[in-house]
């Protein structure tokens, strides 16, 4: 048996309970808020989970990227000639609800990003049977807010 090498390992990491990560919302809550609330709801859910997990600073940039990318998409398709042309093309390819489908696809991509970012934390929560927060209130609130933000921004840019 030898003596321990790295004294840095013995520095406390949890000096108070505020630094202890709480269990994130389930993937089910994240999926449904993204599916029905759109990319803004997905970005907000990413932030909520990041705050619970104590990694808000690390994930803030991802949430902002999702929100800004979606806002830029709305501005592009509704205000530029190229965007209008794309809308017409998309309607030809996939029918009248093409814009709604594109938004949902982006929301699910955002969900995939969030799930990948918090993969280890989600697995740990399952493995250790951590008590999850109630997803109903946050989920429904995010769906309403995400939907309202999408409709509001669409009305502003059009």
């Amino acid at each position: 048996m030898t003596t321990p090498l790295n004294p840095d390992l013995l520095r406390p990491s949890l000096s108070d309970t505020g630094q202890v990560a709480a269990a994130p919302y389930t993937l089910q809550t994240s999926f449904f808020s993204a599916f029905f609330g759109g990319p803004f709801a997905s970005a907000a859910m990413l932030l909520l989970n990041a705050r619970r997990l104590g990694r808000l600073q690390r994930d803030l940039v991802w949430a902002l990227m999702i929100a800004v990318a979606f806002a830029a998409w709305l501005v592009f398709v509704y205000t530029t000639p190229a965007g209008h042309a794309l809308q017409v093309k998309m309607a030809e390819w996939v029918g009248g609800r093409s814009m709604a489908l594109a938004e949902r696809l982006m929301a699910l991509l955002a969900f995939a990003v969030s799930a990948a970012l918090h993969r280890r934390e989600q697995r740990s929560a399952d493995l250790f049977g951590l008590k999850r927060p109630n997803g109903w209130i946050a989920g429904i609130a995010l769906i309403v807010l995400g939907f309202a933000a999408t409709v509001g921004l669409t009305m502003v840019v059009t």
């Binding site: 003596t3 321990p4 790295n6 013995l10 406390p12 990491s13 949890l14 202890v20 699910l108 740990s124």
Partner: protein, 292 residues
């Protein structure tokens, strides 16, 4: 043998053997008898805490351990057991403090580094957890505790389907150990192989028929492996990724068939809707029916 005639050490050995076989009722009977003559015996109290923890009464176990530590602040076994219970209960700040104070006192004990690694793993500090477990393994290459913590890190961190070298070593060195089997079952559940996980969980239940945790795991896995769940295999295996793929594939299929004016478009829509409803409604109904 009467309690008065038997030494506390003999009693502790008997009680410990009973607890190893999870015979908590018999162990408690012996324990209460022995405690009447030796009410402050630390080792007897420690066995009492073990019995409480086995019966899922961690609060009472912790109370007993605190009593032992109040009388004997340096009692290694009581402090190590308290550390395990604090970690299990998610009281991570006192767990970390206890782990660090014990490591400071016993810097040559590898299992303490592994125990601290487990605290860090529970606190979602993955890199530190792995580093501590590796440190423990470096100090004692045969430490099964350190290997178990590394295997847990692997289950959490490695992509699905990736083999864990630590788990392979545990299987080779301790194939009969129930902690090893429990880790294998966990890894199988995480990788979506519910059929093999059920086999492992049944083995664990056979070795500990009174353990409610293994019973509920076997019940849950039996639901997952029921023949009527076969259509839901992609969702079980690939999780929410499969749900996203199902939606995307469904939208594309219905649109393409619709553009071809095929009557199959309507059938495809109804099929996907039916599948989604089945995936939501059937599993909870089946669970109720099988566990009635």
């Amino acid at each position: 043998m009467d309690a008065e005639l038997s030494s506390p050490d003999d009693r502790v050995r008997q009680i410990s053997e009973l607890l190893d076989r999870r015979r908590t009722a018999q162990a408690r009977a012996l324990l209460s008898e022995a405690l009447t003559t030796h009410p402050d015996d630390a080792e007897l109290l420690l066995q009492g805490a073990r019995a409480d923890a086995m019966d899922d009464d961690n609060a009472s176990a912790r109370e007993t351990l605190q009593r032992v530590i109040a009388r004997q602040p340096e009692h290694f076994g009581a402090r190590a057991f308290l550390l395990a219970l604090l970690t299990e209960d998610g009281d991570l700040v006192p767990a970390e403090q206890l782990a660090l104070s014990m490591i400071e006192q016993y810097p040559q004990t590898p299992d303490l580094y592994a125990a601290y690694g487990r605290v860090m793993l529970r606190a979602l500090h993955f890199a530190k957890a792995r580093a501590l477990a590796q440190e423990a393994l470096r100090m004692d290459p045969e430490s099964d505790f350190a290997l178990r913590v590394i295997a847990l890190c692997d289950v959490i961190e490695l992509p699905r389907g990736t083999d864990s070298a630590a788990l392979r070593r545990l299987l080779a060195q301790y194939p009969e150990d129930r902690h090893t089997l429990s880790l294998v079952v966990t890894a199988l559940i995480q990788s979506g192989d519910h059929r093999s996980a059920l086999r492992g969980a049944r083995e664990l239940l056979r070795s500990q028929p009174n353990d409610p945790h293994w019973l509920s795991l076997v019940q849950a896995l039996s639901v997952q492996n029921h023949w009527s769940m076969l259509p839901l295999w992609p969702l079980q295996r690939f999780g929410w990724g499969a749900s996203v793929a199902l939606w995307l594939g469904g939208v594309v299929a219905v649109r393409v068939l619709g553009q071809m004016n095929s009557p199959a478009a309507a059938w495809a829509s109804w099929f996907i809707l039916g599948y989604v409803i089945y995936s939501w409604v059937w599993p909870p109904l089946l669970k109720r029916w099988l566990l009635r």
